[in-house]
Every structure is written in structure tokens, then in C-alpha cells.
């Protein structure tokens, strides 16, 4: 067994894990944070995406011991005492989720995207989340949600969140 110490959503956690334990299992099972999901076990779908030291990563294919000493943000750590993170508001208001299973992963990927590129073009957003699969939405509203969050984070005028019909 190995001792792993890491900071998750600002709080330090320590656990004894076997060397084969996956990071996603450590987060979900040892620390009971179940907002990070396991969709494919093979880093294809991105439902398990979290931030490790600010960088998005698919936690189903990272060993827990590899994350020793890192700072991790999961979906549970996005909101603050002041309220929801703009990306959370964006996904909510733009109906960018149906079943919700992929949502946490896509949002965390988008958080990193917006940190690095606060004002991405639509193409940059598409490229940015091309590693995450959603089986329900068809992605359009996910793009809109990220555009909305980008506007909100920069204090720009907010795009309409009403469903758009021709």
C-alpha cells in the first residue's frame, strides 16, 4: 500500500491505496465525491475529466499514486460560497445537458479551456472539447454554454439563453 496525499477542491486528503488504484476510484470511493463519472474505462469518453494542477485529465487512466502531491478540482469544487461557477451557470441556462452523465467532465475541460483562452472562437471551443463525448445533446448547446461562460467571465454582454428557433 502507498500513502497518497493530495488536495481536492482545496481540502487536503490522505489515503492508503494499492499501487493499481485508479485516481477516479480514489476520488469516488475513498473520498465519496461521486460527481466524477466513469463512462468507458478507456479515456475515450471524458466523463471522468478532472483538473490536476489546473490541467484537465481523464482520471480513469491515471493511477492514484501519480496524483500524489497534486491539487485536484472536481465538479464538486467548481462552485464557491459566492455561487456557481460561470461554466455551471452556462450549462444550466443553455440546457447543455440531458442525462447529465458527461456534464462534469465537459465542464472541467471547458474550465481549463477558458483559463487558457478566455475568449475562444467557436472553432477553438469545438477543438477544445473534442475529447469529450456526449450521447444526448448533439453538442450545440454545450458550445453555447461555453460561449456564455466566456462572456460572463469577461463581464461582457451575455448571449440569450432562450432556445433558438428559425
Amino acid at each position: 500500500m502507498k500513502t497518497v496525499t493530495l488536495k481536492i477542491n482545496g481540502t487536503e486528503h490522505t489515503a492508503e491505496v494499492s499501487p493499481r488504484t485508479l485516481l477516479v476510484h480514489l476520488i469516488r470511493e475513498n473520498f465519496s465525491m461521486t460527481g466524477t463519472h466513469i463512462g468507458c474505462d478507456t479515456s475515450s469518453c471524458g466523463a471522468c475529466t478532472i483538473l490536476i494542477d489546473g490541467k484537465s485529465a481523464k482520471s480513469c487512466t491515471i493511477l492514484a499514486v501519480q496524483a500524489d502531491g497534486t491539487e485536484i478540482i472536481t465538479v464538486e469544487g467548481l462552485a464557491t460560497a459566492e455561487g456557481l461557477h460561470p461554466i455551471q451557470e452556462g450549462f444550466h441556462l443553455n440546457h447543455a445537458l440531458h442525462c447529465g452523465f458527461c456534464t462534469a467532465g465537459v465542464m472541467l475541460r471547458a474550465v481549463e479551456l477558458l483559463e487558457k483562452n478566455p475568449n475562444p472562437t467557436e472553432e477553438e471551443i469545438r477543438w477544445g472539447i473534442s475529447g469529450n463525448l456526449c450521447r444526448c445533446t448533439g453538442y450545440n448547446n454545450i458550445v453555447k454554454a461555453i460561449q456564455w461562460a466566456s462572456a460572463k467571465m469577461q463581464g461582457k454582454e451575455l448571449p440569450s439563453t432562450e432556445p433558438v428557433f428559425v
Partner: protein
Amino acid sequence: MTQNPKPRKKKHSLNIDAPLHVTGRTIYLDDMPELGGTLYAKVYYSPYAHASITSIDYSEARQQPGIIDIIDHSRIPGENQIGGIIPDEPLLAVDELHFIGMPILIIVSTDELNAHKASQLIKLEVEEKEVIVDVEEAYRRRSFLSAPIHFSLGDAEHAFTDCAHVFEGSASSGGQEHVYLEPQGAYAIPQQQGMKIFSSTQGPTAVQHTVAKVLGWSMNLIEVDVNRIGGGFGGKEDQASPWAAMAALAAHICQRPVKLILERGEDLQMTGKRHPYQSHYKIGLDTSGKIIAFEARYLQNGGAAADLSPAVLQRTLFHSTNSYYIPHVRISAYSCRTNLPPNTAFRGFGGPQGMYVMEAALDHAATALDIEVHDIQRKNLLYESAEFPYGQLAEACAAQHCWDEAVESYDLSGSMKKIEDYNAAHQWSKKGLSLMPICFGISFTNTMMNQARALVHVYHDGSVGISTGAVEMGQGVSSKMIQVAAGCFGLPHEHIKLESTNTTRVANTSPSAASATADLNGKALQDACSQIIHRLQDLLRDQWSLTEADELQIDNASAYVAGTDHLMSWQELVTLAFQQRVNLSAKGHYATPTIHFNKETSKGIPFAYHVYGTAITTCTVDCLRGNYELDKVQIVHDFGSSMNRAVDLGQIEGGLAQGIGWMTMEELIYNDKGQLKSGNLANYKIPDIYSVPKEVQVQYLNTPGAELAINKSKAVGEPPLMYGIGAYFAIHQAIKRFNPQAVIPYSAPMTTEKVLLALYSKRDSE
């Protein structure tokens, strides 16, 4: 005089689940806190597609640390049978293996790793048998899962002799894996009496019934609870049951809670998919392009057991003429037994497969006659009171309305001109365009299933709890149920809580399927709410000594009589009712009226109503590489009077993407040993963000809506999937712009490889 409260603005884009999803507080099956002593079950499944077991030895596996038990078929106290329509499928194999992935043993362990290790120590010896994967081979051998189904209208046989043009050909469509992002699973917990099962299922009652049968218990001893599921798409309509039954069996034998959740790879190997079809068509037209006669034979690859195949097969025939009126029709469908996992429900339920063949036949005719396919399509669209091959007449038919709106508002002729210009200017890149009209019948085609119930409690503090048989799987039915109850009681939605779907609160549910969940459960919910409202009205009429003429309103969280001083808050009203011992709970029931269907004659009125629409799809094909992009899809859709435009628009966009996936890129590959070669999400590709159209436009067609739809808001779950068929034919069009002599078999999905072959294909010695 009292100022009556102003009506609230209607919430057209409520998504009741969104706050949970964005904060990670949603509880899916695997997110539930586990009880102490919980065990984990792993399924040991057949690595052979067809074989007889000669010996199986799991004694060494049983000795593995952490292994609590290994359970085979002999330990099943009830029936070893999970077939829903036809009892032809054991839960655990006895001595015959019929597909790769067929469950044989349940390994029960204290942790998943040991279960995995144990599974590798099991020694299975078999006598291998001939494997049939190909549906035509199964048909040749008359290997059927159920009786063939025939529909007919008019006199097709003689009508063909009157046709100026007759074309025959074949069309095949591939299967499709559901890829609900939450895999199959269940958590069974022994109770002091019976068993409680948390299941990721669209059909709680199906799970309850299956578990009861397997355990040999009565249904009242099985409680099934579904909080929500992370996607279903039909894959959890019937095929959630075996995992629940295995978890329950293990929990019963071990007398401990047992959790069974499939890994993605296991899920892909063991579960059934959308049925692949191989079909033959014959279409006859007159000189003006009117379709006079249509004949088709559909061979459905059902896999190794019937599952829902007979019902899926029937829906293929219901939708075989898509959105067209054809006076003479003779069609037959055969469900063929092969050595694939039993194929099952998938959004559209056989309808898309039928509609694809129709469109292929039209494309064939247009190509041969060298005319635009949309000229034939438009000429034959359904009209009011036109007869479907099953005897129902088209009512409030919006087929032509949708088409004409699409052509006009999206400027079809302008788009075609632009495409022509583009194609003239580009040698190695070509654009193509297609129109895809859809018509989809709403109701379970098994009339009995068109019923639902709901349970409503108004608590004495004024808050409301509602239960229905609907399962939330992302389709937004939770939001719609909250809207229905809030509308009935005249309360803000925050006052309403939707409970989990639980068989002890709402029994004998139909699965959340057939696009009908909101209609059926919503109407049952309206019934329950209005019973309570009527009791409250009676109380107030008595309390305020009202006459029949007084207009008593319960709305805006209050009760009042227009033009008088009578006013009471909802809270006061409920308190009064409780004090007066008025029943504040009600059970609602709904059964779709008017529908019926005679299976012997294949005639009746199976559908409460039809949903119509038209999609114009434009694509660009890279003629050097065979890659393609979908530029845009422009849709006119018949929503009726949508009660939640955000949810409904989301269903259009999501359904379209899934249909495009089925038609273009999602390719299930089995080898001749019945082995799935596309067995993980790295080589079975569902649409990512670059595979969906760059632009989707949806026009909201204003129609009155159907009375049998909840709040006249038409069902929207399945119909948009069929817009995806348009992508297939748009790609065909682009290929023909590059190579007018191209020979393109009607074979979906239209993968990049097939596109490349078609681009450089030539007609034989012409």
C-alpha cells in the same frame, strides 16, 4: 374588490435536473452510498458464439481470496428465464451457448479485483458449433425468432403491372450500440421481506417481473427503485433486467447487498444493439412520378433470442412507407435468429430501418429516371385522410406543410444553386443535399402498454410530492412532470418534488419508451392532480357558500372567486382541507383512448397521433480522401404546442446527432466467429463534436397539437432520429456530383471507407 393575482409567465425552458447535474450532486446508480457488507458481482460470459458446454470447472476460481460464491444456473430458485415477449432466453446458460457475451456464471466477491482474477481461473470446455452471423444465411435456413409479419394495402401484385417504371434492389443498415454513458447496472438489497433493487432501467416493472420470476417470488416481494439513469435510448428498456436479476439472485443466495455494474467493455460485448437489417424492395411508379406500388421484404438480425425483436419488427412495417401515401403495398418482415447478442430496442424501434429502405427505393428510382429525388418525394407525401398500410388514416397531417415550409423558409432553390456553383468551382470537393421527410406514430404498438398511473400527495404544509411511472434518462420527462403538476395546482414549480420511480408507489408501469412517457404519465398525473383540485373546490364552494355560477379559481398559489373578496392562499387552503379531513392524496390513471390494433389482420388504429417533419441536409465530401463534413441540417418540425421548448429542441438536436451516427460512422464489426471487433469506444466511434452538423436550424411548425399529447405538446423522443437518414443521402448526392457513374450500394453506415470506394467506383462494363 380583490385584485386577482396576475397569471405567472409559463416556464418554457425549465430543466429541473440541471442544478444537480452542474454541481455533481445527481445520484446515478453507482453514486449511491453503499451499505456495509456490500458484495460485487461479476458476470462470467461465453467466449463462444455457438457451442455446447462439455465441462466447466470453477473450483480453483472459488478458492481465490475474496470470492464469496460462484453461482450457476442450478442455483436459480425460480425460472431460469428472462425472455420478455417469448420465453427463449435463459438468465444463465445451462449447456448451450448461443452468443459471445451470454452469461454463464455470477462471481460474487468482496471486491472487483478478486472477481476479475477469479474469472480468469475458470476452465470452460466446449464443443464448438457452426456460427451464423449473417442474417441472409439465417433466413435461408428458416432460422426465425418469431412468426413473420405481413402488412398489405390495395393490390400490389396487380398494381405493378400498371406501373410505367419498376425498380428492385436491396438495402442494408447496420446495428448501433446505444452507448448510454452510464453502463448497465443494479444494486440489490435483501429486505426482511423480499428484495429491494436499485436499477439503471427504463422499465422498473420489467425488472420487477423478471426478478420475481427468477427468484420464484411474487411481484409484491420485489421493490424496484429508479432515481434516474445516465442515458437509455432503448438499451435499458428490456436489457436492464438481467443484471438486476443476477444481482438479486446473488443477494438472495448470499443474504448480503450485491452490486453489479458492467464495465464498458463488458457492456458492449454482452448487450444487444439496434437491429441490423437486410432488405429487398420493389417500387413501381407511374409516368408522373407517383408511387403506385411498393413491395419489400425486411430481414431483421435479431441475435440469439427474441428479446423485443418481434415488436421492433412490427414497427418496421408501420413505418415502411415513411411519410408517403402509397395505394398498393405488400410488405413482409422476418426476425432471424443468429449468434449475436439479442438485439433490442433503440430509439426509433425498427422504424428507422424501414424508413431507410423507403428512401433507398426512392433514390434508386430517381437515379434511374435521372430526375431529382425530391420531386418524387414531394409528389407522394401523405395528405389528410390518406390511408397508412395498417388502416389508420392520417389526421392533422403535416407532412406537406413541413416540407413546403422547409423548401420555402430555407430557400431550397437558393441552396441548390449555391451547391451547383460550389461543385462547378471545386474539382476535389463536392457538396450534396438531401431532403428527409419523417412521419412517426406515437403510442406503444402493443395497445395494452398504453397506460400509466401517478400518485400525488399534497402535504399539509402545502408542498406537493409526485410519483409517476416515468424514468428520467435525460429526455426531460422530470421537468415535464413538474410542469404538469405545477400547472394543475397553479403553483410555482419549486413547490413540487418529483420522487424516484418506484414500483411500490406506482405499479405495473410501462417502460419509459416509445416517445410516449410524458404523454402517458403526464395524463395520469393530471388525473391525480385534478381529483385533489376537485376536492379542494368542493370544500371551498361549501366554505364560501358559492353557487355553480361563481368562478372559483385555484391558481397562482391561491384560491379566489373572480369579482369577489373570496381569497385564500394555497397554504391556507391546504391547512383548511387537512383540518376538514379532506383526502389530500390521489392516484391517477390514464389509458390512451381510441387506439387498437388487430395483429391477425394487421389493421387498426395503433397510434394516438403522428409526428411530422422535414430536414434538409447539406454535406461536403473530400473526394481525395472520402472524408465528409455535414455543413448544416435545416429542420421544420411539428412540435404541436411544445410545453418545454428547451427540452424539445434538445431532443431534436440530440436525436439528429444519434441518427447521423447510425447512418454515417457507427460501425459494429463482427467477425465470422461472432466476435465483436469494435468492442470499445476507441474503435466504435459515436459522433464527437466534429461529426455533428456545423449548423442545425430548427423551425417550430405551428400546429394545434394533438389532444392525446400532454398539453398538446407532441412526443419528441424518437422522431428526430430519422432526420439523420438525410445525412446518408446527402453524402450519396455529393458522390454522384464527383462521379456520375458511381455505383453506390445502399449500405449504411456510410463510412469514410465506403465513400472513398464509391467515389472511384465504375459501372460494370458499361
